[in-house]
Every structure is written in structure tokens, then in C-alpha cells.
């Protein structure tokens, strides 16, 4: 197990390196730079700007010094657009926000999704099942950029119950709509997965044995069926968490939460090289970490798996 984890961590390094290089080159291949403006900056000023941010260096040197900055000082450089901030500061401000509503959405999605899926499986082909399946597919195909304005319209304008956006240090009123908008489609996927695998487990031999032993149904389900049924769900969670961070673009856009999702898209559009790279690396690292955690959990739940 330990060697496995170490091996996985060893892959993380080339992965991140690959990510940095690809993003870096893509970014620099794009037309326009961070200082491309409608009011064209005079050549002399542009030269000064490039000198200040090291953009006058050959590409490989920029890349090398960027990587060195990260390795040696954990310094992701200055933002080229938000000039009074560094990338570390931008991430330090935005990431906790994204992480907070992302994690809450994630937990909400897992709990409601599993609940819905289990209920649907137990009462297969009842109205509850149909309802659950209907809700989950409906929620899965409704894009969150449709959901967000609908929520805003309902809760802020018509009902006037919730503030239309902002973060305010993470007070609950400000979190309700972001969490609903973000969690719904994952809840749906999880419910579908859970239902399918629960159905499979419920017809398996060991459940039949458990029932034959005369155990109460609730015990059968909680003790014997749930754990194996969650295995396929578990492997979905790794990628899901990451795509939630990507999906946070929509939340940041509509609800002004100030997370890193919007920062990423902005940085790509503004050619804010450093911010874009910083966030890409962060999300890449998270992906690796989360996939690893999921694998470990997997092994822990299912002792048959050996690495």
C-alpha cells in the first residue's frame, strides 16, 4: 500500500510538469499578451512592461525561472493584470471560497444522491423509484447556467428570500444558491449510479444469504448492501470533485462569489499568464490528490483490492 502511494506520488511530479509546460506554451502561442490593449501601449512602455515582468527573456528561461520560483519559494509570481496582487494572494483569497462551497455542494450531492439512489433501488418500480429517476435525470441534463438564473429569479426577485450574490465571508444565505446550482447535477449522477449498483447488489448471493438468516431488512441494507453498492460511486467522486471546481465558473459568474473558477477563465482571456498557470497547477494537484484518496478509500472498503 505504502509503495503504491509513493509510486502514485512519484507520477504526480511529471504530471504537473507536463501540465505546466503544455499550459505555458499554449498560453504564449496565443495572439495578444497581457498588455495588449485597445489603447495600444507605446513601444517604449511595452518594453518597460516586458522587462518588469521578465517577458523579454527567451521562453525557456521564463519557464525555467517560473518553475524555479515555485520549487524554491512556492512563489507563483505576480499577476500581470491585477497588478497589486500576487498569484499566491489571488489563490489564497479565491480558493478557500471555492473549496468551501465546493465541499458543501459535494457533501450535499453525495448524501442526497446516495439517499435518493438507495430509496429508488429499494422501492424499485414504485412511484418513488420513478420520481427519483425522473428527478435525477432531469437534474443531470439541466445545465447549471440555466439553473443559476432561474434560482436568482425565484429566490431573489420573486420571493425575496435570499441575497442575489456575494460571499460576505461565507454566511449561509449567500451559500444556498451556489450550493444548489453546483450540487444538483452531481446529486443526479450519484443517484443514478447508486441506484444501479444497489439493484445489482440486492440481487447478489450474499444479500440473499443475509435475508435468509432472517436479519431485518434495514440491517441488511445498511450493513451488507450499502458498502459494496457504493464502490462504483466512489470511483466517480474523484473526477466529480474536480469538475465541480470547473463548474464553479458558472457559480462565480452568476453569484459573484469571487472563487477561482471565474479567475481562471478571466486569466485565460486576459492572458494573465501567471494566474492561469497557478490555478491550472492547483487544480491539477487537486485532481491527483483526490484520485489518490479515492483509490485508497476504495482499497479500504473493498479488501479484495490489492495494490
Amino acid at each position: 500500500m505504502i509503495t503504491y502511494i509513493l509510486k502514485r506520488l512519484a507520477i504526480a511530479v511529471p504530471t504537473l510538469l507536463f501540465l505546466i509546460i503544455v499550459s505555458f506554451l499554449l498560453m504564449h502561442a496565443a495572439p495578444g499578451g497581457p498588455f495588449t490593449q485597445e489603447r495600444q501601449v507605446p513601444a517604449a512602455v511595452l518594453a518597460n512592461l516586458n522587462a518588469k515582468y521578465g517577458l523579454d527573456q527567451p521562453l525557456w528561461r521564463q519557464l525555467a525561472s517560473y518553475i524555479w520560483g515555485i520549487v524554491a519559494h512556492f512563489d507563483f509570481g505576480p499577476s500581470f493584470i491585477y497588478k497589486d496582487r500576487t498569484v499566491n494572494e489571488i489563490i489564497a483569497q479565491g480558493f478557500p471560497v471555492t473549496l468551501t462551497y465546493g465541499t458543501i455542494s459535494f457533501v450535499v450531492a453525495v448524501i442526497t444522491g446516495v439517499g435518493l439512489g438507495v430509496a429508488a433501488a429499494i422501492y424499485q418500480n414504485s412511484w418513488l423509484d420513478y420520481l427519483a429517476v425522473g428527478i435525477s435525470i432531469g437534474a443531470q441534463v439541466l445545465p447549471n447556467f440555466v439553473m443559476a438564473p432561474l434560482l436568482l429569479l425565484t429566490f431573489t426577485w420573486w420571493l425575496g428570500w435570499l441575497p442575489g450574490g456575494g460571499w460576505e465571508g461565507g454566511q449561509w444565505q449567500y451559500m444556498v444558491m451556489p450550493v444548489i446550482a453546483l450540487a444538483t447535477s452531481y446529486m443526479a449522477s450519484i443517484a443514478r449510479l447508486t441506484r444501479a449498483s444497489m439493484l445489482e447488489v440486492l440481487t447478489s448471493n450474499h444479500i440473499r444469504t443475509a435475508r435468509a438468516k432472517g436479519l431485518p431488512e434495514s440491517r441488511v441494507i445498511l450493513k451488507h448492501a450499502l458498502k459494496p453498492a457504493l464502490l462504483p460511486v466512489l470511483s466517480y467522486l474523484g473526477p466529480a470533485f474536480v469538475s465541480m471546481i470547473t463548474g464553479s465558473v458558472v457559480v462565480d459568474f452568476f453569484f459573484s462569489t469571487g472563487g477561482i473558477g471565474k479567475s481562471f477563465v478571466d486569466s485565460a482571456l486576459n492572458r494573465d499568464y501567471a494566474v492561469m498557470l497557478g490555478i491550472t497547477i492547483l487544480v491539477g494537484a487537486l485532481t491527483i490528490a483526490f484520485n489518490l484518496v479515492v483509490d485508497i478509500l476504495y482499497a479500504w472498503i473493498d479488501p479484495k483490492i490489492r495494490y
Binding site: 501540465l19 499550459s23 499554449l26 498560453m27 445545465p143 447556467f145 440555466v146 470547473t246 491550472t280
Partner: protein, 306 residues
Amino acid sequence: MVNQASTMPAAALTGKEVKGRSPWVDARRRFMRNKASVGGLIALILIGFIALFGDAIAQWSNEEIDFNVMGQALQLGGPSISNGHYFGTDDLGRDLYSRTLQGTRVSLMVGIVGAFIAVVVGTLYGAISGYVGGRTDQIMMRIVDILIAVPFMFVVILLLVMFGRSLFMLFFGIGMISWLNMARIVRGQTLSLKHKEFVEAAEATGVAPLTIILRHIVPNLLGIVAVYATLLVPEMILLESFISFLGLGVQEPLTSLGALISEGASTIYYGTIWQLGYPLLFFVITLFSFFFVGDGLRDAFDPKDR
């Protein structure tokens, strides 16, 4: 477009059927017994039919502006038979009916081509890796491990920003995201096929490895590939809609369901609800159908049921 994709497994079925013994017939029977899946298939065929031939009854093209309606979408742009805008118009006075049809065509195409790229690349990659085995297998799978950790949505955004938006870039980006899982699954299956008699027989008679992969391994993977392909299509369509939301989708006057929905969603505040409603309806039905068909196929091919 749709017809081809949804009947692809069916076509494969009939091809195999001739040869006699077949899990394919079983699979088809199982599939046909699943009402939701059959319903989904019918809905898909219908949507495909409307998307392809619905233009025949359209009175406006997808780019013509109805200057009588332009600027008064709320008052005059609602769905109406009399002025020929069956689904109403957008804010500019363009006919939503023909735009929705055209958008559906683009979305389906993106979904199907994206899934196709994923399937071809994923299957070949996985089959080669699994069949060749040894060091090659290890390296190829390490590469997949590395790529899978790349937040590809980010890379797609970058690609579109960098190289300008185009259908090609969309396909390329979307296809690139999705072949990785396919490759893993196919490799797993290949490993189990590798030591089957027919493969060993082919090897013994000196058939070239690539031919073995293409002739003997890949055809035996078609079932599982078809299932994943069907489930990939709606994912691709959803992805495209997200890209359209970011403003990086296809060029005007072309549109996609994602772009239409995104536009419609931004105007629901102003009461022009049909601008969201009709494209969303097509979108939802298409995705539902693909999910149902995919689920049905999975159940039909699921070895555990046999």
C-alpha cells in the same frame, strides 16, 4: 446523424447475426424489453428526423432577420403559426424554429463526432496497450495516468482561446478529453481476450499483431464500446453547452443547442420564455434519450445478467 449512431449497435448486431450463434440476439431481445430504452431510441430517431428534415416546413432560414419582430421580441416574437415563427424568435427577430433545428444538428454532430473520436482513439490505444503488453503497456498506461490528472476542461478553454473557435477545435478538444477512460476499459477487456483460443490461433498462423488487434480483438469489444459511446454522446453535448456558455462555441450565424439555451437563459428575466423553452426541450429530450438508450444497452450487454 442520429439515426446512424443509435442504430450503430443494431447494425453491428445484424452483421454478427449472420454468423450464427450470438450473444447479440440475446442483447437485442433484452434491449427491446426495456421500455425506457426503446422509448429513448424512438425519441432519438424522431429528433434526428426533425433536425434533418424539419427545415422543409420552416418559413424562415436560421439567419434571416424578421425586421417586423426585431426589437420587440417580447410583444411580437412569441410562438405563432401566422407569422411563420412556430417557436417564436430571438431578440433579433430570427426564427427560433429553424435555429433550434440547426442547433440540434450542430449539437448532435459535436456529440457524435466527439464520441467517435474518443471511441476510435480510446479503443485502438487500449487494445494496442493491452495486446502488446509488457513494457509498452506500462508506458502507455502511465501516459494515460498522467493525462487523466490534467484538468482538461481548462485545456479546452485554453485551446479555444488560443486558436480561435472553430468546429474542428471543438471536436479536437472534446474528443481529447474523453478517450482516456475508454482506453482503460478497452485495455482491461483486451487483457482478458488476449489468451482466448481464436487469438492464439491467429498468432500461431502468423497473422501480424495489428491485424489481430483490428480483426480479432476490436470486433469482440464492440458491445462495451457501443455502450460507452452512447453514454459519451450526451456528455459531449453537455460539454459543448458549457463551452457555448463561456462564449467560445460555434460562430454566428450558426448556433448550437447550448448556445441557444445560454442566450435563452440570459433573457428569462424579461419574459421571453420561449427562447429558453424550445431549445431546452430539444436538449433535454436528446440527452434523456441517449441516457436511456445507453442504460438499455449496458443492461443488454452486461455479462453479469447472462
